[in-house]
Symmetry: C2
Subunit: 227 residues, 2 copies
């Protein structure tokens, strides 16, 4: 049983004329729609092509295989978000921690909710083997940008920026995922956004209150509390 290393993974033709650019775009768009309509399991290349108004052959002219198609759609979406985060981080270097968090949360949510459908659809592909890789790459971009921003804060930060970034991103991702997965009625978005900012700010304050070296009382058992 030789490992199936199908050779034809060379990137396909890339669009030159206007009509082909349109095709590629339609295909990517159709991918999202099909994903939303039937889920990843029942997404077929033929179905995507049909939806996009082109033939399967055309699809395979720009994407070497089904998986590449899915990854491309995922990448396109995540890149937009990464860009938006990096921009915010750049724009807020040297400001207050509070300013930073507020801007970060707002930007992230805005980017993620810009089109909810796409975000939801892509959860289907974000957690297969290849999807995870793509996600990981983007995560690295977020992380770095945020750490850099935090490190430039006008106030001193009592905790390593990596840790803080981890917490902020965890909160951000976790809450937004919850919102998206739970049907996401528009109205809850704004209050939750505010709540997240409250939480993040409260956390940062708590960080500042701590001495640089950890002074959290140690906790060894699940039944003993930091009071």
């Amino acid at each position: 049983m030789p490992p199936r290393l199908k050779v034809p993974l060379e990137p396909r033709k890339s669009p030159v004329q206007a009509r082909s650019v349109a095709s590629v775009d339609a295909i990517l768009e159709a991918t999202i729609q099909v994903l939303l309509q039937v889920g990843k399991e029942r997404l077929t290349t033929t179905r995507v092509a049909l939806r996009a108004g082109v033939s399967v052959g055309t699809l395979y002219q720009y994407f070497p295989n089904k998986n590449a198609l899915l990854q491309a759609a995922l990448k396109r979406h995540l890149s937009e978000i990464s860009d938006s985060i990096e921009r915010v981080c750049r724009d807020h270097k040297g400001t207050t921690l509070r300013h930073m968090v507020t801007a970060l949360m707002t930007a992230f949510l805005q980017a993620k909710m810009r089109d909810v459908k796409t975000s939801v659809a892509l959860y289907y592909v974000s957690s297969d083997v290849d999807g995870a890789k793509t996600v990981q790459q983007m995560r690295t971009r977020y992380d770095k940008a945020i750490v850099r921003m935090l490190a430039s804060a006008s106030e001193p930060l009592a905790v390593e920026p990596e840790i803080v970034a981890s917490m902020l991103l965890g909160l951000l991702m976790g809450v937004s995922r919850r919102i998206l997965e739970s049907g996401a009625p528009e109205q809850y978005l704004e209050p939750l956004r505010r709540e997240m900012i409250v939480m993040a700010c409260a956390y940062l304050d708590a960080c500042s209150a701590r001495s640089p070296i950890q002074d959290t009382p140690s906790v060894n058992e699940s039944t003993r509390y930091t009071n």
Copy 2:
């Protein structure tokens, strides 16, 4: 094109003798392993059976189809976590908010990290159409339990417990997912757990400091901050 509503979805035979119980367990275990080794896309029932040391036929005696197998594995894992959370919530009714959060965070992380491999493997199935349903069910269980606990706190809670629960779970899920997906070196777990508790407590304090009716300064633009 009739919707494919394959009839034979009746639940199969359930194990009676000891050996069959062992088989079912081996199959479920093998599912996780195969999931980890090759991912969901390349998981085949034959491969799972082989790994479990039984034949495909045996597998199909207990699981009506491949998907049911995956869902069963997912459900088993999530149920353990739900149980653990519900227990903690029950055991901490009427205590301090701080006690509650600390216990909650600790219990959740412990349950999730008990065996990291399983948790990671099941991310692959947790976000397909059916997996999402299962996850949603469990989420409801978490939510209710936590809301009930929060509502019983010895101190008054200035914010609706649903909102608080949402935030806490968002944080919890988000951070733990980050940990799991990023390779999860054991050593980072404890500091992050503490950090989460710090964050959650800081948030609860901030909540108490607010008057019952929202007094968060309103924010209308992404470029205006709550100072």
